[in-house]
Structure formats: C-alpha cells, structure tokens
Symmetry: C2
Subunit: 344 residues, 2 copies
C-alpha cells in the first residue's frame, strides 16, 4: 500500500513550488505551458488525485448535489415507488453529465435534514423528491431558504411554498385522461385516490378529472371519489369498495399506476373484465404499466427530462443565476385498459 501522493510530492519532483502545482492542475492561466506539462506528467506517474476534502474545505464548495428521497410513510420498508426509482436513475445520470457527484439519501423527516447537507458542506444544493405534503415541512423549507441553501423541489406547483419547483402538469394530465375516457363514450366515471391537501399531486389530478367531467356535464351529484394512497394494496382495497357500491361505475381514473394495478387485481378477483365490464386508467407510466393485463392507459411524466431539469435548475441556483418554476406537460399513453383501440 503506497502512501498517497500530495501536491508537495509533485512540487518536489517537478522542482517547482506547491502553489504552482495547484495552479497547473487547476488549469490556471498563470502557468507556463511547459511547467504545466511537466506537472501534469508527474501527477499522472504518481497517480495523484486532488484531495477533495482539502480542496472543498478551502473552496467552500463541494461539487456535490444531494438527493433527498422522501418516503411515502406507507411504503413497505424494502420498496421504493418505481416512479421515484426511475427519477433516481435519471437524476444520477444528469448530475454525472453536469460534473457533479450525487449523494443519495432517504429521509424520514429526521429533525435536522434541512441543515444536514449544506451546512455541513457535504453538498452545494439539495433536490427534494417525494410525493406528499410539503406543507408539513414548510417551516423547514423556509429555514432552508433563509439560510441561503439552494434547493429544488419535485412535485405539485404551489405558489405558497418557498423555493423553486419542477413538476409535471397534474391538472392537465387528470383532465386529458378523463376527457379521453369520455371520448370513448363512458359517462359514469369514478376517481380512486386521496385528494386532500396532504396529497397535492393527486388533488390536482382530481381537479382535472372533475373539470373534464364538468365540461361535458357529466359531474355526478355525489362525488364518485374513493380514497387510496399510492400502493397496490391501497388500490386493491379501494376498488373493493367501488365494487360494493350500489351502482358500478363504467370507468375508473386511478391517481397512480400502483393504485390501478391493485384495482386490476380486485376486479379480476371479482371475475369482471377490463375494459369490457369496467375501464381502468392509471398515472405515471411506470415500467410495469405496459405489461399488466390489459396494458394500462396512463399518463406519462418524462422522468429523463425531469431529472435534467432538476439538476440544471439546481446548478443554476448554486451559480447565483435566476431560476424559475417549470411545469412539464403530461403525456397520454393509450393502452387497452381504457377500451380504446391502441391506435386511437
């Protein structure tokens, strides 16, 4: 095990000062080409790497982004929502492309997550990812902002929240997919998914659903809305409720694919057919949604683009540039579960 080389070792061998080594390696213009070449050469021979801790300490920045994954408190301990898993993948890739390291962490609302990363200089900025109610940590977000910590949120737009937000247009997605069902001729359309303040994404999708129905004068007298959060089990239970209600809806808009998959199970168990007896649509376009029987009509959120947007927005913020909220368009993905021909 060789001792690790430092900039002094290189300086010694190159016959220059340590300052010059540092400059040469950092592409400072204040070094002659000749000196730089020699230093770089020796650094390579010695397999030298700049010590990031020392460099970061001195520069007071880390070239690292932190990703905070908030978990659905209801999720099984060993599973991550597939949608966020795919976001994780695209964020990882986007940070790498931007030359930043990515620190990944799960959060269970630990007391001091708001300070943990930037105050400790582990990261230059934070990406907050997770469904749910940012209101509950509103004060923490405010504190982040007050401390000058850079962060971006993924989720539902909310003018009231501190910080920049990147999200997908949940209202439009809910509207579109409901309108699509209406265009198929369905009238009696239910919604499965909680839609209170604690679930702003679902709430926006629900609003889109309602407005689409309203536009076509199909809004039922009593709302056909059933609570469920984003797990298969919850979707399964909610759909059993639906199936036990006096009048069976002809179509169901589920607030997420996970819910829709659970609903599918409940329907099959009841020996009913999708879409013949009841049509089902989901939301998210998680990988599995293309493989259910029948394939799920759903709304895609472009995770690749989302990852890029989150990362570039955060980096811009770190570099003191003006940054803006961004609302990505939703994209309808039509498969068989809605009863449309796939070419529709």
């Amino acid at each position: 095990m060789k001792e690790k080389a430092t900039s002094f070792d290189i300086a010694h061998r190159a016959g220059v000062s340590q300052s010059t080594v540092s400059r040469a390696l950092n592409n400072s213009p204040l070094v002659s080409q000749q000196t730089r070449d020699r230093v770089v050469q020796i650094a390579r021979e010695l397999n030298y790497k700049v010590d990031k801790n020392a460099s970061n300490l001195r520069k007071q920045k880390s070239n690292t982004l932190a990703l905070l994954l908030f978990e659905d408190p209801t999720t099984d301990d060993s599973l991550i929502n597939p949608f966020f898993l795919s976001m994780l993948g695209s964020i990882t890739r986007a940070s790498a492309n931007a030359g930043y390291d990515l620190l990944v962490s799960f959060q269970n609302m630990a007391d001091d997550w708001h300070a943990e990363f930037e105050d400790s200089n582990k990261a230059d900025g934070i990406i907050l990812l997770g469904y749910g109610d940012y209101r509950s940590y509103r004060s923490k977000l405010a504190r982040l902002e007050e401390q000058g910590t850079h962060f971006v949120r993924w989720g539902a737009q909310d003018k009231d929240q501190p910080g920049v937000n990147i999200g997908c247009d949940n209202y439009q997605g809910g509207f579109q997919i409901t309108r699509h069902l209406i265009a198929q001729g369905y009238q009696n359309i239910a919604f499965v998914g909680e839609c209170g303040e604690q679930a702003p994404e679902f709430k926006a999708r629900y609003q889109g659903y309602r407005d689409a129905l309203n536009t076509h004068h199909l809004l039922p007298a009593t709302p056909l809305q059933y609570d469920a959060f984003s797990t298969e089990d919850s979707g399964y239970a909610a759909m059993q409720h639906v199936l036990n209600s006096p009048t069976l809806p002809r179509a169901v808009v589920c607030a997420s694919d996970l819910i829709a998959i659970g609903a599918l199970d409940a329907i099959h168990e009841a020996k009913l057919k999708v879409p013949e007896d009841i049509a089902i649509v989901g939301y998210d376009n998680i990988p599995v949604s293309g493989y259910t029987s029948p394939g799920l009509t759903t709304v895609r959120q472009n995770t690749t683009r989302a990852g890029e947007l989150l990362v570039t927005t955060l980096i811009n913020a770190i570099n003191k540039q003006q940054v803006y909220d961004y609302l990505m368009p939703a994209e309808l993905i039509i498969r068989r579960s809605c009863g449309a021909k796939e070419s529709d």
Copy 2:
C-alpha cells in the same frame, strides 16, 4: 443569509476552548457532562453542523461509500437495467442504515475511476455493480487492491479476481429452473443468452442449464444455445432466430427477464402461445416479470439482502476486519410461462 457558525463561535459563547467543543460534540468521555450539555445546547441554538470537509480532512476518512454502476454498453442511454435499479435502491437504504452517505456514479470505463474515489478521499470504499466482464478491468482491480482501496464486487464468483465478491448462485439458479422445466415434461429445451467469458453470470447460468439437462440425459447433440445480451430487443431478435430454426424447442431458458420479455414479444408476434406452444422462463425476477402475459417463471435474486451484504462487507473491510466472499442462494419463482400450475 446568516453566516455559518463554527466551533469557535460555540466555544466563545460557551466560554470554553474550541477543543472542548469538538470533544463535547464527538461524545468524547474527556468532557464533563455539564460542559457537554452546555455546548450541545448552544450548538443547537446556533444550528451548528460540523463541517464535513474539515472533519474528513483531519480524520482522513469520509464516512461515505461510493457506488459505481457499470453500464451495459449496449443499454439505451436513458435506461438502467431494472435489476440494478432495484439494487441501487437497496444499497441506498443499507448505507443509510449503517450511517454512511452514498455517492452514486455511473461509469463508462473512464480512465481513472480506480483512483477517483478513494484517492481523492471522497469515499472510504467502493461498491462495484454491473453485469459484465471484470477481466477487462482486472488490472484496475489489481491496482485498487495494491493501493489498499477497499471495494466489493457484485457478480459472478471468480477465484482469479482481486477483491471480495458478493453474488447470487447463478449456476444453481440455471440448474434449478431447467430441472423445473424437465419436471414439467419438457425435453427439447433451448438457452437464449450469450455465455462466453465476457458474460460470466450468463455463463454460469448456462452451465447450470447444461448440467441439469445432462443429469437427465437430455443434452442435445448440437447445443441449442442462441446469443443475446440483456435487453428486450436482443431477446426479441434471438427468439426470431429460434423460431426460424428447423425444429422448434418446447421450452426456452432465457438468461435474463429482459431477454425473456423480448422473446415473449417475438412469440406472440408469430401467433404462438406461451406456454402451450412453447414455454419460456427468465432470470432476475424484475418487477415487470410478474405482469407479463403470461407471468414469467424466473429466478429471484434477493436484492434487499444483496444490498445489505455489499454494504456490511465493505464496511467491515474498511474497518480492517477479515471479509469473505458470499454466494447467495437462488430462488425459483414459478408463474404461468413455464406451464406449471402456479401452486406447483
């Protein structure tokens, strides 16, 4: 934007020396309870966090693990193999539980990845994750070892490789799933997946397949093996090959679920039925495999356990403890694609 507090600020307010602050905050026994309480109290008030860069620089360790994801060179830029995505999830969780931060990074065989992390003190150790041929970076692994860098590999056991290895018993998995097909009465069984040195995992699965056939005297005169790497497209193409061959096999062992899913597409396109006309089995038990039509019989690798093993093994290595290779058992998951009753 408040200035960030340092240990000196706390020392000043507490009327003690900065050394004492550091000790108090690091739970050193060399501090009176009274002093510690006061320091901790003030630290909280000032919202103080230890600067990790300074602390790491001084301690020469980072409390961070690096995860290097090697990509299948054949994979689409925006997609990660779902199996590795699920490993990523479990490794993230396991590191967090162990109190380590996790730095995630993709690798395209950049020249100096072997030194990038530990030499730069960004991480205390490295987890190498990715299918493929470790032989091609054998020299780099050797260098890692020589430099005293701590690392664990996920993948096929290989006595020739430097470093510790955690993996799942690919041979046993291939054997079991093939034996299962034989038990269903199939005789003419093909294998789809490359099985050369560059794909050690697939190779081991193929060996298991062959030995199972051999045990039952079913080994064909000419090997029924078709190359494919782990993507749907490649599986689709390979299965078209199979379907064009003079005698159609009755069952096909695919080296991965992704391959099997592509194969399923090719078979359905040819208007054949699974499992009636031809049985298909996969490997990995990726989430989608439960939702294909029919559901895929496959081999599960316990990713939760794998993540924990990788992390704890690496941490043990970092702490200078003796560490060992570990081979996890494979686990047969029976669904409809093999023609068995699910309760089989």
